[in-house]
């Protein structure tokens, strides 16, 4: 059993905190890990990444060989593109959809998301929306940890002691707020995973998720939607714009009727 993950983002987005949580969760489970980080100049707003390897067997290389990564987990959508050569066939991309436009030649709106939706297994997460709904706008990285969890050998609640270590000094309410956004991220990731596993395209999963309230997502119910998303009613629902709706039995009934 091994999980090779490329963590990506822009300096200052907190990918080392993501790595911290994954490292400690792995150790707590008695797993081995290696995690190569970038320090120094690149941390000043440049492209940053970390190679994170988790396994039940000893790990040799600190770097993931190209074509071997099981996951690219990115806190910024453009950054995914720099590391696609590392992704193995069947690997998953989980990315925040919030761009960091600190460069003049950032691609036009829509292009970056569309390029990700063209991938066979990609999940775009509205980490900014989820984090700010919990008044935790700086916790987008915690949302992303949650979103990645369904693809890893962890339960989202396992991160709590390590979130406590990172943020405990700021008070219990900060720890709990971080856990709340982490859970919301988990709901998005787990729900999307069920749909992708059922053969729904990345693009369709993305359009569907964009209409739903994250905290109402029940991964156990996700498969029920897989068969109806191509239907006329679902397509009509996806074509409309508007506030996010609760993902509940009523919605399923509406879409499948």
């Amino acid at each position: 059993m091994k999980y090779d993950i490329i963590l990506a983002g822009v300096g200052g987005q907190g990918i080392l905190s993501i790595a911290y949580l994954l490292d400690h969760a792995a150790i707590a489970r008695g797993l081995r890990f290696k995690q190569a980080e970038v320090h120094g100049m690149a941390q000043r707003g440049g492209a940053v990444y970390s190679h994170m390897r988790i396994s039940d067997a000893p790990i040799l290389s600190d770097l993931i060989p190209e074509g071997h990564a099981d996951m690219i987990l990115s806190v910024e959508p453009l950054e995914v593109q720099r590391y696609l050569n590392y992704l193995r066939p069947g690997g998953v991309v989980i990315s925040n959809d919030e761009p960091v436009k600190n460069i003049a030649d950032y691609p036009a709106d829509g292009l970056v998301d569309a390029a990700l939706m063209a991938l066979p297994r990609a999940i775009l997460v509205d980490a900014a929306g989820i984090a700010s709904a919990a008044k935790m706008s700086k916790a987008q990285n915690m949302v992303m940890v949650g979103a990645a969890t369904p693809f890893l050998p962890f339960q989202w609640a396992e991160f709590e002691p390590f979130v406590q270590r990172l943020f405990g000094a700021k008070g219990d309410h900060v720890v709990q707020a971080n856990m709340t956004v982490l859970e919301a991220g988990w709901r998005v990731g787990a729900f999307a995973k069920e749909l992708l596993d059922a053969g729904v395209s990345s693009a369709l999963v993305g359009r569907f998720l964009a209409r739903l309230q994250p905290m109402t997502l029940d991964p156990a119910a996700a498969r029920g939607y897989a068969g109806v998303l191509e239907g006329v009613r679902a397509q009509a629902f996806l074509a409309t714009e508007g506030a996010r709706v609760a993902c509940d039995t009523a919605l399923l009934n509406t879409l499948s009727a």
């Binding site: 790595a19 790990i59 050569n85």
Partner: protein
Amino acid sequence: MAERELLLGDEAVALGAIHAGISGAYGYPGTPSTELFEFVQGCAEAEGIHAVWSANEKVAYEEALGMSFAGKRSIISMKHVGLNVAADAFVNSGVTGIHGGLVLCVADDPGMHSSQNEQDSRYYAKFALVPCLEPADQQEAYDMARVAFDLSEQTKLPVVMRIVTRLAHSRADVVTGDRSPQNAMNPLADTFNFTLLPTIARVLYQRLTDKQPDLEARSERSPWNVLLDGPDHSRGVIVNGIAWNYLGEAYEGRIPYPVLKVGQYPAPVAKIRALLEMVDELVILEEGYPFLEEMIRGVTGVHGKRIRGKLDGAVPRCGELTPMIVAKAMGLPVPDGMAPTLEVVPNRPPTLCPGCGHIDAFAIIKAALAPWGDVRMFGDIGCYTLGYYPPHNAIGSCVDMGASISMASGAAHAGMHPVVAAIGDSTFGHSGMTGLMTAIRENTPMTLVILDNGTVAMTGTQKTMCTGEDLVNIVKGLGVDPDHFKIIEPHRAKAAEQAAILRAEFEYRGTSVVIARRPCVQMKRKGG
């Protein structure tokens, strides 16, 4: 008692040194070495270890040498180019030898993630004729650091530990062991060894060269130099340091060829010969320069054997090794990897932080320089080197610590005008004062702008020695003309007024100094 800890390679070396009973840790911040010192610093008080950043690497090395003179153990850490600064002390400490154990951990940066070059510190160890240890992983980093102090005291020599970025900044679990107490105070009674007058130095240099057979014998029997057999003798492989991991990765741990894993120098020549005799072709995979490869090839090559490595192009000469490069060099198939799904993926270089005082300083300086056209400043090592990039276009050189001032002086000697140098407060304390003193004595027509942000920003806001009023007093003490010594707090709102102050100094045909003082935003965020 054995415990399992999560450690960066840097931290593993630090913990090994602590467990070996160091009484001091010395260094100057520099990526990728910084976290070694910081780890010791974090527990220095509890452990009774002296750990305060030094003004530069040479000072750090000499302080450690003094601690060794007193009979105690200490570790010095620096990045590879830092050893250029400390080289005088380091090379001579091979001749003096040591008393209390002394280990120099140098973090090389193949691939230049955060450096000006990718020099390989194994050459320095060879140059100084001292042993060098090179760990392959975090566990070895910890284990070697402990043993390095014993090796140092047994051979009476400083020991170099060479690590590289991918180990220094990679985290893994490490099993730790017992702890040794610190050495008791035991100053050297006979000072002959530390007094390198030519008559004495000749004796000591002979003694150093006489030690070489012992160092070679230690390398031959070192547990870090392992010759492993394999079923297929058509080919053999030599690896150093972390190259071992990439080779293992390529074969999923089952390497079919004999392999010599090198982790202790001087190079184990008998083991190299034994491997060569076994095989038809030798592939040399080195993280760094082709150090072993040049030695093995010599000028005539090895008769009847094919040697492959960086010198014949089997492995790229520049940059760091990767699992892919190693797999390719071994002739293994490598996956193509997925291409980007976006037509153009723009680069995202590092930038100055939003709100950084350097941004305003550069804008004001460029405005002041406008009458002379697009003039750039001689720059130095720090965040402000990013002033090279647009939109600043303010910095025009970056060579080594302190070079801004001396290069500006030289350009002024040649007749260039105006000539402006920019240096940070910590870099000024590290290597800028002597250059400025020289310029002031000659009244060289140049302007030095000291960007005082109150911290060593690039490496993570370490404490600086040369900021605020201390910096003002140092500059005054160096003898700058008080009429041409100005202090500004650069800010867009005062741009016109401040550009006028600067322009007057740029016009002046003598040495002038302007301190542009504004605290680092990263430091303020951390509550500094």
